[in-house]
């Protein structure tokens, strides 16, 4: 059977599974809708958390990015798993003990202030939408490449599925759907990785294979990769090119940023007891680590396979996957030296980086690009990093059912995260904005209705992001993490560990962290992108890592302002004592 038909079957089966689960576990109360009535088993919650956490970025993009960045890509591996440790140790158990529905709930109560709650709501909504835009792009890529439907139609189908189970099922529906989605996505990630590991290194465990010898020789895979990279003019795969201080700050910003991500924090509100929150954090990290330790192996395998299957190959003999991805515009080839062969090396192939295709066909049957060639280097290929994981099974010539499986897995990763984020958005609007601030007199039934309407509106907005992707998605990702690190994390952390922090301190801290971080990122990413290089950065910190700096500003300002104003009321002290008790 061909890959496309198999993909339809796999995606169809997985989608009907998700819908079935949603009908079986639909929400009946606000507690069901927001936190699944605190009835979720820790292992199931661990799987759901893992699916929530691992987005299209983890599944589709991460291994591809590492494949091109080599050791510099470690910031994502350490950042996204290490941040999880911070969350599990410093926030999750206490927020569970607090026992409310949302993160702004905690901030509003702890800092006895609706203004603080409102600032938190705005930050959450911004972070969540930034994130969803990325998920929708992932859904669009998978649909257009594997099912050959229009990207727009693909996004609409994805949205309809999420709409169905998020709006109907709320947290309860989402949680149990995410358990299924975790199983689909991890299976889909591991199967090709194991296959390729056996093919390249004769070792069925990718985590070991990638440190092993290339089969049939005594050369270590990573040594071979270092050598290939150097021959083509890149840096050694296993060495950093970024400065240590920048790597340090980016890793830290990603860590503290992920610890402040609302859709993951809220997962810990769904388990029955505080000890279950800790346990479920442990299970979740095992489930996450399974993918995160496999990803760098996939990157290394993909890099070797990619170079070996295209370098110095006549375009006319280029493998099928190369031409398929060229058709949807994520690969382009410009024959600079007019030898009919594909030459891959360091540097951007085209002026303006992204290819602009004309409608005509070149000498060898390639899609013609109208960009001028970049004559600074001899590289002839433009390749979008996001395709590496999806193309990997084809590059390694694995059977068609593996290709179909990867497509279903990528959709599971994107949809599970999108659903979790939609729930956070809808809860912040119906619960924090309507019930707690604007219309405190609404009944539970009305609140549930508002939650569903908010989820529906959020889905439509997210869908529009997918159909008309803003060109700045990549830039705003730095924003999401930077802002989570410099606004949300410090107030949550200090709220638990420092009793004396009052509302004036918290609000001043959040605002100063926000202004400093957003200002720096906006300056280098939007106002003066041509200045965005290490010699102009403050202390050599890139915009991606600046959230960590903003976090310290937040801490400093919050503590200073706290001392000027009077201590929080007695009930806040009692609340914190209660949270800290076993």
């Amino acid at each position: 059977m061909n890959a496309q038909l198999l993909t339809f079957i796999f995606v169809g089966i997985s989608f009907s599974l998700y819908i079935g689960i949603a009908i079986w576990s639909r929400a009946k109360s606000t507690s069901d809708f927001y936190i699944a009535d605190k009835g979720v088993n820790p292992i199931a919650n661990g799987m759901a958390t893992a699916a929530d956490w691992m987005s299209a970025a983890s599944f589709i993009s991460m291994a591809g990015i590492i494949s091109f960045l080599g050791k510099d890509g470690s910031v994502y591996l350490m950042g996204w798993t290490g941040g999880y440790v911070l969350l599990a140790l410093l926030l999750a158990p206490y927020l569970r003990k607090f026992g409310q529905y949302t993160v702004p709930d905690f901030i509003g109560t702890r800092y006895y202030s609706d203004a603080a709650r409102l600032v938190a709501v705005l930050c959450l909504i911004f972070i969540s939408f930034t994130y969803i835009a990325g998920q929708m792009r992932g859904v669009g890529i998978v649909f257009s490449r594997f099912l050959e439907v229009d990207i727009d139609l693909g996004v609409v189908i994805g949205m309809a599925i999420v709409f169905f189970y998020a709006v109907l099922g709320g947290m309860k529906g989402i949680t149990y759907t995410q358990v299924a989605q975790y199983c689909v996505l991890i299976f889909a990630y591991l199967v090709p990785a194991i296959f390729i590991s056996i093919l390249i290194t004769n070792n069925p465990i990718p985590q070991l294979g990638f440190g092993g010898q290339v089969s049939g020789s005594s050369v270590y895979l990573l040594d071979k990769l270092d050598q290939l990279n150097i021959e083509l003019g890149f840096n050694e795969y296993t060495s950093n090119t970024k400065s240590n201080i920048d790597v340090f700050f980016i890793t830290a910003a990603l860590m503290f940023g992920t610890a402040g991500l609302p859709h993951v924090i809220v997962r810990f509100f769904t388990v029955p007891r505080v000890s279950d929150a800790r346990k479920s954090a442990g299970y979740a990290l095992i489930f996450i680590a399974l993918l995160y330790t496999t990803a760098p192996a996939v990157s290394a395998f993909a890099r070797v396979n990619f170079i070996e299957s295209v370098q110095e190959v006549e375009y006319e003999d280029a493998p099928g996957w190369f031409k398929n991805w060229e058709q949807i515009g994520l690969i382009a080839w410009k024959d600079k030296n007019e030898d009919g062969k594909i030459n891959y090396s360091a540097g951007e192939a085209l002026e303006g980086v992204k290819p602009k295709f004309s409608n005509s066909i070149g000498v060898y049957g390639e899609r013609e690009v109208t960009n001028e060639p970049n004559l600074q280097n001899s590289n002839e290929i433009y390749i979008d990093r996001d395709i590496m994981v999806l193309a990997n099974p084809e590059i390694a010539k694995l059977p068609n059912w593996v290709i179909a499986l990867v497509a279903a897995g990528a959709l599971a990763a994107a949809l599970s995260t999108a659903a979790g984020l939609l729930l956070v958005i809808s809860a912040s609007i119906s619960h924090d904005l309507m019930k707690k601030t604007l219309m405190p007199n609404i009944s539970e039934k009305q609140e549930l209705l508002f939650a569903r309407i908010a989820a529906a509106v959020a889905i439509i907005v997210a869908g529009l992001f997918g159909i008309y992707p803003p060109g700045f998605v990549a830039q705003v990702v730095a924003f999401a993490f930077g802002l989570a690190a410099s606004t949300i994390f410090p107030v949550l952390f200090l709220g638990i560990f420092y009793k004396r922090l009052n509302k004036e301190g918290a609000i001043a801290g959040m605002l100063s962290g926000l202004i400093v971080t957003a200002g720096y990122i906006i300056f280098f990413k939007f106002i003066n992108p041509e200045l965005n290089s290490s010699e102009n950065w403050l202390f050599g910190i890139s915009p991606e890592g600046f959230g960590f700096f903003g976090m310290f500003i937040n801490f400093g300002v919050a503590l200073f302002v706290s001392f000027i104003f009077k201590a929080p009321p007695k009930r806040v002290y009692e609340l914190i004592d209660e949270i800290r008790k076993p």
Partner: protein, 80 residues
């Protein structure tokens, strides 16, 4: 020692190890560790892309066990 003090002690020990394996071995001393290798991995590279993650998993479970023991010692009623 009070429950909260013991809790803070556990947290600081675990987070020191957390810092050591990621920021220490994976970033600051990574290049020096690269002089050593396990199998085909340079050690600093291994910590940055594999080792730190394994340690993170172990750390969370150590935390779970230590906290459960602490809860028991203070005989808490872990209720909703």
């Amino acid at each position: 020692m009070s429950y909260w003090k013991a809790n803070l002690l556990i947290l600081s020990i675990i987070l020191s190890i957390w810092f050591l394996v990621s920021f220490g071995f994976g970033i600051i001393w990574s290049e020096s560790l690269d002089a050593l290798s396990i199998g085909g991995f340079k050690l600093g590279f291994w910590f940055a892309q594999q080792g730190s993650i394994y340690v993170f998993v172990i750390l969370i479970f150590v935390y779970v066990i230590l906290m459960n023991r602490l809860d028991k010692k203070f005989n808490s009623k872990d209720k909703d």
